[in-house]
């Protein structure tokens, strides 16, 4: 499975189907991730998003894959997901002036005024926490895929510890 640079064969059928399929997989992953009513939650959505990217990277090789998923964007999504989740807890303390606990979501009073206590909780879970989990899981699994599955080419020259 490790593609030497020279003998990399390209197959039109696989590439066209991959070009067609991965956006659809990403769309389905978004549906699963956002919102609490439907199937699955943040984690399952994030894994489906990751498979969308992994399909693209497997077919087009790690260089083209790196163009699509550059390293800095990948690391940004890893941290941004957890900023969202941690931030959700942090906001509850800030907005309630240290009256509510870490993840006590109704304390986020702008949302609670509109949709009430239970609505505030489901809003925060649906949009801040699920999305946060999904982004982190997507970015982490894609970056692990790059490192574990793709042997980097320059590694051929010297055996570096």
């Amino acid at each position: 499975m490790t593609p030497e640079r020279k003998v990399y064969k390209r197959d039109v059928i696989i590439e066209v189907t991959a070009k067609l399929m991965s956006p659809l997989i990403l769309l389905f992953g978004l549906y699963v991730m956002i919102g609490t009513g439907g199937t699955g939650g943040g984690f399952q959505g994030g894994t489906i998003l990751a498979t969308g990217f992994i399909l693209y990277i497997t077919v087009f090789g790690s260089e083209k894959g790196r163009e699509k998923v550059p390293e800095s964007v990948n690391a940004f999504f890893k941290s941004f997901g957890l900023f969202l989740y941690n931030g959700a807890g942090w906001i509850c303390i800030l907005f309630s002036l240290a009256a509510a606990q870490w993840l006590n979501m109704p304390a986020f009073w702008p949302v609670t005024d509109f949709v009430g206590i239970a609505g505030a909780r489901s809003f925060m879970v649906a949009y801040m926490i699920s999305v946060g989990i999904g982004l982190t899981v997507m970015a982490s699994f894609v970056s692990q895929y790059f490192d574990l599955a793709w042997k980097e080419d320059d590694e051929m020259e010297g055996d570096e510890g």
Partner: protein, 148 residues
Amino acid sequence: MEWLIQHVLEKYNFWVAMLIIIISLTAVIVKENLLKKLIGLSIFQTAMFLWYVSLGDVGRDILTTWGLKTGTPSILWEEAAEKGYIYANPLPNVLMLTGIVVSAATTAVALAIVIRIYQKYGTIEEDEIIEKEMEFEREGGELKNASS
């Protein structure tokens, strides 16, 4: 005989989990190949998740005076009361979602280490690695390692 029914047939989830644990522990101990040891370890973790989730399952299919009493996943739906279903306990499922993630991350890091070992020693058989280490030791001094 009565002990057998009461403690083995009614609690077969525990026996299945225990069997898998014994098999996977022997794999972890006996197998010389590092990857096979790792596979044994992840089976060991999966057996743990199996036992936990089976704790939360409810509703054996016994015919009670209110109709068949069966368990249903813990997603609230209206007709559950009329049809006589009981919701399963969500807590073990929640805990094991986290446990699965933990075992996935541990396997990822362990695989990274196995790849590094393969790059370094050229093999992932435990005894060949030990021989290579002893060779380097006889050559004198620290294993020549580019980075340190």
